[in-house]
Subunit: 333 residues, 4 copies
């Protein structure tokens, strides 16, 4: 049986995946995409070296950090923990297993963020654990500033994993993530092919797919509804970003979300995402999809381009491995 129960006492009590840090080549070019076309809000900027962005509903400092270094690389994934005590507990755990990289406190703290513990998951993915961010002005009702996709907040990250079962065992068994949906093979001994895992009570905080990994597949940004996705397409098309549209709009079978996949100027993949469902009720049982069911990827039947299956952002400082199972994309023919 490939799925296991989430840890009753996880090594760290994670509230949600809360931000992503990406390496880019040109802050201004990135802002033309994230701020001007996607409608995100700038919280802080460090000249041409870095910028901190948030969604329109965010009252916390950042859900996206862009740094002018290692373009096309993901520099880390941020995880909120429930309390400062949880942060200490997490630091102790990662120190014990030997993957604690640093504890940033006092003046070393990342900008806009409280004390932070930098660690690696067993596959090398850089995680940034912390309890709080600085409070900033929520823009939720500043409707005159809404434009483009009007991104509201970060919803999730999606990663390629080379060893999906092992990654599942770690994220559920150690970190306490809960499975909402999963894809497996139809073999006599089914093997996991993809996983949607959550802490915050909707479909996912993290999704994992069999592939050359670990790599970041995409960052999912929440938008208000289908019309903001359509508006985003129209705006992207006439502001030089028609080439940024990689897939969609469409409806995923898995998660039920309405989606659009974009590539930012450095190739990082961003999903505009809306319309999933709640998973917090105790009788919720993970939804199984067969790897051969064409509706899991898109309910409407449109194939994804080959790039969508092949390309992703490397994580900083990690070597990728070939996946345990061969990649079997269903692409446009």
């Amino acid at each position: 049986m490939p799925l296991c129960e989430p840890a009753a006492e996880p090594a760290v009590d994670i509230l949600r995946v809360s931000h992503v840090e990406l390496g880019v080549s040109d802050i201004e070019a990135s802002l033309a995409f994230y701020r001007d076309a996607l409608g995100m809000v700038v919280s802080a900027r460090d000249a041409d070296e870095a910028v901190w962005l948030r969604g329109l509903e965010d009252a916390s400092h950042h859900c996206l950090v862009l740094r002018r270094t290692q373009p096309g690389t993901c520099l880390g994934i941020g995880l909120r923990v429930r309390s400062e005590a949880d942060l200490d507990r997490a630091a102790a755990h990662f120190a014990a297993v030997g993957t604690l990289e640093a504890r940033l406190d006092g003046s070393e703290r990342p900008r806009g963020q409280g004390p932070t513990v930098l660690v690696r998951d067993p596959f090398g993915v850089p995680l940034s654990l912390y309890h709080h961010q600085d409070t900033v002005a929520r823009q939720l009702q500043n409707y005159d500033r809404y434009h483009g996709a009007a991104v509201q907040r970060l919803d999730h990250v999606n990663c390629f994993a080379a060893e999906l079962q092992a990654t599942h065992d770690y994220y559920t068994g150690v970190l306490g993530f809960r499975v909402s949906e999963y894809t497996e093979t139809d073999e006599a001994q089914p093997r996991l092919w993809a996983l949607w895992l959550h802490r915050k009570g909707n479909v996912h905080d993290v999704a994992l797919t069999n592939g050359v990994g670990p790599r970041l597949h995409h960052v999912g940004m929440w938008v208000r509804g289908e019309m903001d996705v359509i508006n985003a397409c129209d705006v992207l098309a006439v502001t030089g970003f028609a080439g940024a549209i990689e897939r969609g709009p469409g409806r995923h079978g898995i998660s039920n979300a309405f989606f659009l996949y974009l590539r930012d100027p450095d190739g990082h993949r961003i999903e505009l995402f809306t319309g999933d469902y709640r998973t917090m009720d105790p009788e919720f049982a993970p939804i199984r999809w067969s790897l051969d069911d064409p509706r899991r990827q898109t309910l409407w039947g449109q194939p994804a381009p080959k790039t969508w299956f092949d390309e992703g952002s490397d994580f900083s400082g990690v070597s990728v491995r070939q996946p345990v199972m061969p990649v079997r994309p269903q692409v446009a023919s």
Copy 2:
């Protein structure tokens, strides 16, 4: 029988109602409303004296002219005629009946407009007849400029008329308008209470309602759909124009349109309007509504405020009269 057939040979072959000229007190205040909140496009401006606006889809110079004179007064309604020959024919007709005010040609032509004939209808309403406007750049696909209500074009005007049957007889019998919908009393000899008249093939170019008149009740601006109306409400609310929302959003029984009524800074009433239907098929028969049917005003049953029944913009140079029938509004109790 109160309705008559449209004139087979009207005095003037009108394409559509194409613009309105309004007296305002402060051009900048008006622009904050029409340009910034409603998303209209400025075609030309004459310092602080006048401004010419159009919708995002318009390739013609103006559908709204604002002049700093007689605030709260409607200075005229613009009607496109099919050809220059039609203009000559119209001028001859109005000269013959004694209500030709001027023919503006050469350097006297209104800005952005071809040769123009200024006349009065029998009730005193100032009409501006002309064949063409200057061509300007259509903004339809400049989606990065869309904001607020994203007004696309002018759809219609709606006026109070003191003598509704006579006004009907003139607009259908002389000007060739066709009736799409009408409200009448349930008396043994039914009397007309309101009329929707068109030339362009949807529900209306002109609507007429029994009331102190002639006065302009509102100008209907076409928007793309319900979501642009909702977005307009959100933007108006946070840009100082919450008080501008007079009625709606809602659905009219008559015309089937989704509507929102606003009052501009000088009190002129603007309707955001979308979702009516085509009326061009030869078997189309006017739709009758009983004056006592509550669904004609709003399908959803919400009452209109008293101002909506009482207030309107005077036409420049016309004295109003009491209506033939007593006004019987259905208002919020």
Copy 3:
């Protein structure tokens, strides 16, 4: 200072407000409203005596129970607790304070529901505590069954409270609810006038307003977006329920939600609700509104009808009291 921190160790660990039980006079008439016009799904029915309904995304048995008894009365509010152990702990607590009414186990359990503890809050409101419901088939992707409002799930309940500060103290201090937004007077010693309280991580599970209470003001049902609300209005209008529309559609300042208020055939008030925001981040601070701020009720400025301030559903077996503060509605004039 009127607000207090949520209890670190609440008497019961509540996941969310999960269902409401309402007294009705005619099951068929109620189904015409909830099933046919609002698009809810019938999970079970006991002849003409009771019916259990859920939303399209629900995989749990019910979020609304209608019984043919005490029409117009609310028979109870259902609260999910985190574990069976929490249920035992809650029963012990309420027994100790003397407001445990019953523990329903084995064959006594309510239909579709696990072991259940019936209690009263200190103001007499009947609460139904339990850990799980039976699992039923999620209809989320059965798009051919969507119609009317296409209600997805229950979001919250809203109640009048006669002693708002005391009610606040109990729901936060004993039950562990967290404040997301609140209204207070501008007096030197401000007094609480209304509260939005949550457990599940969005704006609210319970809202409380100063008024003759305790009474149920409304049940908030989640819909996918603004277009489903508009579609609901159109369907209600032509299926005999135009009179059911009491207020809206509009945008609340508080919660940012897009809303529509309806009255069911027995007068129970139902809100269609969509578009609030997440409140789970640790730095989230409750949002204060002045009682005199007109935007808190509706961002767009439309007044509510008097019924909206005056009327509510009594709770079964409770006498109401006059509110501590005089009711000061802002109504249509």
Copy 4:
């Protein structure tokens, strides 16, 4: 110069393209698509031999006729003329040029239709000219019957033409269609590659594209807005028609329309279409697109599948020819 002015005195005064007649293999299978998934209304049915359908806003008898004969073949295109006199004039014209096939009068008239003249255009396309249809009950406000795509009416037909310049010369010069947009090569002597032609005042009644022809490329059905297209995708996906989605949803550069292309059970292509603009103003000038401009087909940059360029419905009784210019589709790679 490839474009010419529309005929001042066309051979027939056409109001609009009003219906299409298609050969199908199974009436029930077609109804599952057109009635159940697209939401069209059945006006009449002749057992298993034929069915007449209309849109929700239509008060005329049919905009789509399906007959169990020659599956996958288009049996004819219906054109409304302005008056019965125009019908006589058209019959005389086509008799004179030798392409009058029949005049159907009295009991020979097509079901639901007035006197009808059957002719061929010079390329063999079967046209059905007539002035009126029977009036049926408009379903526009029967919102409880809306489902699926909720098709409102027919908007246009789109055809492959082997000799595009000659087809243009006929439709503008003889039939009086007006050009709204066109694609041409960038050669020193530009050649027409595609054309959008209208009579009714929006972007088109007929579009023509260089290709193996004459063949019907698609029938464009008008829907209320983007959300109805998205709803149609969701409903098609779960009612066995996921395979019917051929292209989209997306935004055309040409016409600005939001589109979705479907294939009916016999392979006929149907477009759901919404969001174009008015073309009736006299200063409207046709919009030119270069054949090499990737935005003309889709503003958002998504390629169309090869089938979209290659496949179409033959017209009954016509042999197709190879196009004058080689077909150069831009397809998914």
